[in-house]
């Protein structure tokens, strides 16, 4: 029986199979914006400590999946379970009944997200950005929150920027602060939404290396949307190829990237890898 720590240290792909309660579970998920159906009949599970990368052309619904988990979008059909508990709706007598706001918030505090556009609060200093939620959401003491913030800033290579304002930082630095801010909440699940897409090419590796280190040293479950295939290959246990709101193919990164079964996957990969 796998323990929670199994996945972190293990080789990618090892944790995918038989965890008892999936940390994220999508059941018959459907998402539409008006008449536009983005996701339909989507079913998948993510085990504790597993790192899953979603790849596929833009508009295939990858980002929408992350946003549904973060409750940034309204789920229009089906169910999402976090640690086995319903995130937005539960099933009662075959009907979808919304869960209470309180319950949803309780589950949501286990989930962190890093955005493409960083979304740091410009009216706060770097330190204030990081300690706001640990103090006021998790109820930690200010002293502990500050100590943790400083160690996280150390970890992301910005120990001297605690009192700076985000506007004085470069994009890469802002994104590293955003990673520290998300990690300060000790999330069980970390959602990474194209975190390097808005960055200059020369700083992309700095950010990815920090995330590689997070993947190596913690047991956080990651759901990743990225166009950095090298990074996806390094950190993921599983890669899911999306197109048109469906999973075209899924498997360990070695298989998907070197020997995909589906023609659609092959085409997509040759387009993004440029050969």
């Amino acid at each position: 029986m796998p323990t929670p720590t199994d996945a972190a240290g293990s080789e990618p792909g090892a944790a995918a199979s038989s965890a008892p309660t999936p940390v994220i579970e999508f059941v018959d998920v459907e998402k539409s914006f008006g008449n536009n159906v983005v996701l339909k009949d989507l079913n998948f599970q993510v085990a504790r400590g597993e790192r899953v990368t979603l790849i596929g052309p833009s508009g295939s619904g990858k980002t929408t999946i992350l946003r549904l988990v973060m409750t940034l979008e309204e789920l229009t059909g089906g169910y999402i379970y976090i640690d086995g508990q319903p995130l937005t709706h539960h099933k009662r007598d075959g009907k979808r009944v919304p869960v209470s706001k309180k319950e949803q918030k309780r589950l949501r505090t286990r989930i962190g997200m890093v955005f493409q556009q960083f979304n740091l609060f410009p009216n706060m200093t770097v330190l204030e950005n990081i300690i706001e939620a640990p103090i006021h959401v998790l109820g930690r003491s200010k002293k502990d929150a500050i100590a943790k913030a400083h160690s996280l800033l150390e970890q992301v290579g910005l120990p001297e920027k605690a009192d700076s304002h985000p506007s004085s930082l470069s994009g890469g630095q802002q994104q590293r602060v955003a990673i520290a801010r998300a990690l300060a909440m000790d999330p069980e699940i970390l959602l990474l939404d194209e975190v390097t897409s808005a960055l200059d090419p020369e700083v992309v590796d700095d950010v990815l290396n920090i995330l590689r280190e997070v993947a190596d040293t913690t047991n956080v479950t990651m759901l990743i949307v990225t166009h950095e295939m090298g990074f996806a290959r390094d950190v993921s246990h599983k890669v899911m190829m999306f197109d048109g709101g469906h999973v075209v193919e899924e498997g360990p990164p070695d298989k998907i990237f070197t020997n995909p079964e589906q023609e659609r996957t092959r085409k997509f990969l040759s387009a993004v890898l440029g050969h």
């Binding site: 973060m70 556009q117 979304n119 009216n123 706060m124 706001e132 304002h165 909440m185």
Partner: protein, 240 residues
Amino acid sequence: MILNLTQAAEIDDPSMVDEEEVRRSPFWDWDFAFDAFPDIFMAFLEVTLLVTVIGSLLAAVLGLVIAILIMVLPKPLAWLVRWVANFIRMTPIVVQLIFVFWAFVWMDALTIGIIVFGVHYATYMSEVYRAGIESVPRGQWEATTALSMSAGRTWRKVVIPQALRSTVPSLGNYAISMFKDTPFLLVIGVAEMVTVAGERGAPVFRTTEVYTIAGLLFLAASYPTAVLINRLEKRLAYAH
């Protein structure tokens, strides 16, 4: 009407005012100006400035409350608040002053003036706040959700501070507008600065001095306020 005729008759009485002297007097009489100044200045402090300062604060707070209510209340209630605010904004302040004065006849006229000015301008300021709130990028709201921040802290620590940055100049301009609207208090019998100036000048047929003093006092208050708003705007801008 009758009262006016009586006043006119009194003034026409040669024993009250020496018409000849009035006609011959210089355009500007320093003695009269110095004589009238204290009364006008006191009215400025005790009424005009008081109504503007308290009225602006009331408008700034109430305007923000209205803007937030319209955004957070359930649809029918939000619609009601919006409709009432539109109604107040689309009707003249003079009508509102007279209406409230007679509807709440037991209340002190000065208090009524402050409330009516505050509420009237709150409806304008609420639109400024609304625009400011809408200018806060969606990503900021999403970050507060991702951090599970409470609605209260989201508004107080993230949305309002960022919204205010762009609203300060417009709010300040409305405060200055309110200041310049204070002579309307005349219609509910509040002796604000311009009324007092008129009362000092009319009996002696001298208007230049009193209205010049009133005008300069308006300028003396408006200009520093505009400078102050400018400073505040710069201070609220983020460090670059």
